[in-house]
Amino acid sequence: MTLFVQLPGLSLRNPILPASGCFGFGREYSQFYDLNKLGAITIKAATGEARFGNTTPRVAETSSGMLNAIGLQNPGVEKIISDEIPFLEQYDTPIIANVAGSTEEEYEYVAKTLSDSGKVSALELNISCPNVKEGGIQFGTDPTLAASLTKRVKEVSSVPIYVKLSPNTSDIKEMAMAVEAAGADGLSMINTLVGMKLDIGTGEPILSNSTGGLSGPAIKPVAIRMIYEVSQVVNIPIIGMGGVTCKEDVLEFLLAGASAVAVGTANFRNPLICPELIDALPELLDQYGYSSIEECIGRSWKNARQSAAISRT
């Protein structure tokens, strides 16, 4: 049984990777296990300049999920390249850099700088961060803006671009097709849903940013639905995420149409989740009669198409 998956720019020894923002720049979880276990590593969002993010509290727990409003805190793209990525270069694991910004120019600058560094295998274009006041979210909900941004970033980047889609939209397929047409090499979905929790004692939002991004098992049904819909209308691969906590979830994402699966929130509860999932996958696939990752991808709708084709003949 091989777990190998080939995606644009990414030769993954297995389809499991940590999701951006939930794994810092790798150092912390390298205390728990050898990062060479992972299919790839998605690092925290980079912006043009250092950002200090939102005031705390930045996280709150919700039923089967959590809210976060970190606000893209990061030392800026140059410091990330000089101080953070070198640590990860000791591993033989592809790095996906998450690119954020407030303006097209900033996105372009960050993408170009990362691409030119020659140190990352792919870029994940974060057009969907719900936690910054300006920028981010508009790109994530307007297909025209998203396409234009994708195009610009594509032009300055020599590594493949995965566009990370926001679920806070009424038509995810339209978004996906727009960025595909603009040149995206892959998609990454889903980012968080915008949510809020109140402290009933003070009567006010728990997060100082008021709203935050909802992640964790609570949003898995939304992620599965969107991946199922989008994978049928695009020809580029999808890195799926949103609420993965167990091996069955990984298979569900693959069946829905994802080609690789990222794990976010679950790292916080179980720092060993990624290696545990990777170790469990071969037996699981075998149990359900699959002999490669490839075979699982999109099986949920490919099955239906095949039986439709058969019944037509």
């Binding site: 200090f52 930045r58 996280v59 999920g65 030392p75 179980n270 720092p271």
Partner: protein, 256 residues
């Protein structure tokens, strides 16, 4: 390598109003040598409660770690219900605690408020071992909330302040400090932010404070728990409480 571990509950008893002391044993306890570090505790079954809860190491003795927790929400309620013999999953020890190694033969002041008191007990023991003399001032809401008074008294003098005056001095720990005008070499403090602010303001000697913030990962990966750092010290401008702290020199951080 760090790992998660199932610790076994050896004891779990109520010691004050809404306040419990739990003793746990397991392999990682022997690495818990630094007071001020914390356990990141998994609560509940399944994934309804996705986040772990940070709880300070209150003591380590006889291969057992103690935590003292106040019941305020789901997680602490759940902890209070767990029977002896059950296991609790923890990441531990996490963070950087009180740097006590170099503190010898000094007069040290410990200032604790509410659930900020527990980590000071383990610290007091470590300081005592090093020949320091210890004065403790603890603040609680009311008489029924007080815990560990005798334990601290065994290690030095211990003063209590209560918000409502039902026991000890009426008021805050800083009121006791003002009254008594101790001559001390340095202080260590842990408690709610308003208390820490008052402490920093009223003390002119060097001190260390332990901070609290809502946490995600507990290990430094998610940037949930940052606090502002003093710009004079470095340009980064922030500290992660879970990883760089929770204990900081009072001059290093800026409280909100």
């Amino acid at each position: 390598m760090l790992t998660k571990e199932d610790l076994i509950i050896v004891d779990n008893i109520q010691i004050a109003r809404d306040t419990y002391e739990m003793k746990l044993t397991g392999d990682c306890v022997q690495r818990m040598t630094e007071p001020g570090q914390f356990l990141h505790v998994q609560v509940g079954d399944g994934w309804e409660h996705a986040l772990r809860r940070p709880l300070s190491i209150a003591n380590v003795e006889d291969d057992c770690v103690s935590i003292v927790y106040k019941v305020i929400g789901f997680g602490t309620e759940w902890l209070a219900k767990q029977p002896v013999g059950k296991t609790i999953n923890v990441l531990a020890p996490l963070g950087n605690g009180f740097s006590y190694e170099g503190v010898k033969n000094q007069h040290v002041l410990l200032l604790g408020g509410g659930v900020g008191v527990p980590p000071l007990y383990y610290l007091a023991r470590k300081l005592k071992e090093r020949g320091n003399s210890i004065t403790t001032v603890l603040g609680f809401q009311t008489k029924e909330s007080i815990f560990y008074e005798e334990k601290f008294q065994k290690l030095g003098s211990c003063y209590i302040a209560t918000d409502d005056g039902s026991y000890g001095t009426k008021g805050f720990v800083t009121d006791v400090v003002k009254e008594c005008a101790f001559s001390v070499d340095q202080y260590f403090s842990c408690g709610p932010t308003p208390m820490l602010k008052a402490v920093i303001q009223s003390m002119s000697i060097p001190g260390h404070i332990s901070l609290e913030e809502r946490m995600g990962c507990g290990v430094g990966a998610c940037f949930a728990c940052v606090c502002e750092a003093n710009n004079d010290i470095d340009v980064k401008g922030y500290r992660k409480i879970c990883q760089d702290g929770p204990v900081f020199p009072a001059s290093e951080v800026v409280l909100p």
